[in-house]
């Protein structure tokens, strides 16, 4: 919406230039020279320069994991002229372009140098990007509505839109993000025409939405959404290898997908850490997770590990419903065997918060599903 990026990913996850026009790579693969395309302008009317880019990448590279990795290979990043900047590496790093094209948080957006110079551990106060929409601060009501206005000076790329790449051709004057925390209310708003688009409709409501004339349901991303269980091996109970082994015996992938989405047409059993239906799909090393549950072995591992029950509890706030279903599923399997409160339904931010507090438990990743009655 507000900011633009140097590169982005098309619908097949291939990196494509966005703000960048052309680039060259030196024969030793250490020096990347980029040139910005014509017509890039911030919402305050000033042109986007390579100084803005350098400052933005430096700020992003201090916070984002992939950015830190890239900066670890960076010898220098300098503006050569108004539209040209040079990225020199200490050794060849084949993921440079892919990293700049990443579409998951935190995305390497280009800000004005003024904001990009702000301490990356402090929030910026002004939102001035060079993307196709301007943030309308005077209309922003946290907890209710966020408004974006078409930026008339935005020059889209010539290529057709594909995934996050290609020409961002704006066909509306204004976009309003309406915050509706209750899924039923959001669904009703779509049906009655109060809103035009609903992200993450609850699974329970899909049959009703499918039967409503004028409503179209699409899957995005096309390969679906993947959930993860991450055991925090630094803190109890999963700092004990017996607890980690026990959890693997007690859980079963199919239980989760049945809980999250009883609709079989939406289910996919996937045993690839990198996701399924993608170039890096592999189920190597996943054999321990593919078998049926072995409650006896799981219980024995808990008892043999001398594990203690945990009494603390994370009060649930608002979270995507897959988290609730997945966390409930983990707890249903683990708690009766002594791994109480093992399954905390959290998103990535929550996981890091728990980790920072030195707390254990298994976090369950992002998704889009819901089920009120977990069968697991």
């Amino acid at each position: 919406m507000v900011y633009d990026t140097l590169f982005s990913s098309d619908h097949e996850q291939n990196p494509k230039p966005q703000m960048v026009d052309t680039w060259t790579v030196s024969p030793d693969r250490l020096v990347y020279t980029f040139k910005l395309r014509d017509g890039l302008k911030f919402h305050d009317g000033t042109p986007v320069t390579s100084k803005d880019v350098v400052a933005s990448m430096n700020r992003w590279g201090k916070r984002d994991g992939a950015g830190k990795q890239l900066m670890g290979y960076t010898k220098s990043l300098v503006a050569k002229d108004g539209k040209t900047f040079e990225w020199t590496l200490t050794e060849p790093y084949g993921l440079l372009i892919d990293t700049l094209a990443k579409t998951g948080t935190s995305i390497p957006f280009v800000m004005r140098e003024k904001e990009a110079m702000v301490d990356p551990f402090q929030q910026i106060q002004e939102v001035v990007g060079s993307g196709p929409f301007q943030f309308s601060r005077e209309e922003w009501v946290p907890g209710s509505k966020t408004v974006y206005l078409k930026f008339k000076d935005y020059v889209p790329r010539k290529e057709p839109a594909s995934g996050h790449a290609g020409g961002k051709v704006v066909k509306v004057d204004r976009v309003e993000f309406i915050w509706l925390s209750d899924p039923q209310t959001a669904q009703s708003a779509l049906v009655t025409g109060e809103i035009d688009y609903l992200e993450n409709p609850a699974i329970d409501f899909l049959p009703m939405l499918r039967a409503t004339p004028g409503i179209k349901i699409e899957e995005h991303p096309a390969m679906g959404t993947m959930g993860f269980i991450q055991m925090n091996h630094l803190h109890p109970p999963f700092n004990n290898v017996k607890a980690r082994q026990a959890l693997l015996y007690l859980l079963n992938n199919a239980d989760y997908v049945n809980t999250i989405s009883p609709d079989k047409s939406l289910q996919t059993l996937c045993f690839s850490y990198f996701g399924c239906g993608v170039a890096m799909e592999t189920d190597a090393g996943s054999e321990p997770y593919k078998g049926a549950k072995d409650i006896a072995k799981g219980t024995a591992a808990v008892q043999g590990g001398g594990l203690q029950r945990r009494a603390d509890h994370d009060p649930a706030g608002h979270r995507p419903s897959i988290h609730h279903a997945g966390g409930t599923c983990t707890d249903a399997a683990a708690a009766p065997r002594g791994l109480s409160e093992a399954g905390r339904a959290i998103d990535g931010l929550g996981y890091r918060r728990f980790a920072a507090r030195g707390e254990g438990a298994a976090g369950q990743g992002a998704g889009t599903f819901s089920s009120p009655a977990p069968p697991c």
Binding site: M1, V2, Q122, A189, N200, H220
Partner: protein, 61 residues
Amino acid sequence: MFALRERSRSWLVPAVLAVAALFDPSAAVAQQKVLRVAMHADVRTLDPFWTTQTIASIQAG
């Protein structure tokens, strides 16, 4: 996954509103093509580097 209305009511504005807009600023807004969306979360943080909230990246990008 998302669901959307295939034809937005906001885009079908009676011509009479165009006349009304000459006298009423709010009617001018009503003439605009507006896309109203309900996202998975509220936008509370605007700095996409400071936070890892997905909604912050969506509104930023």
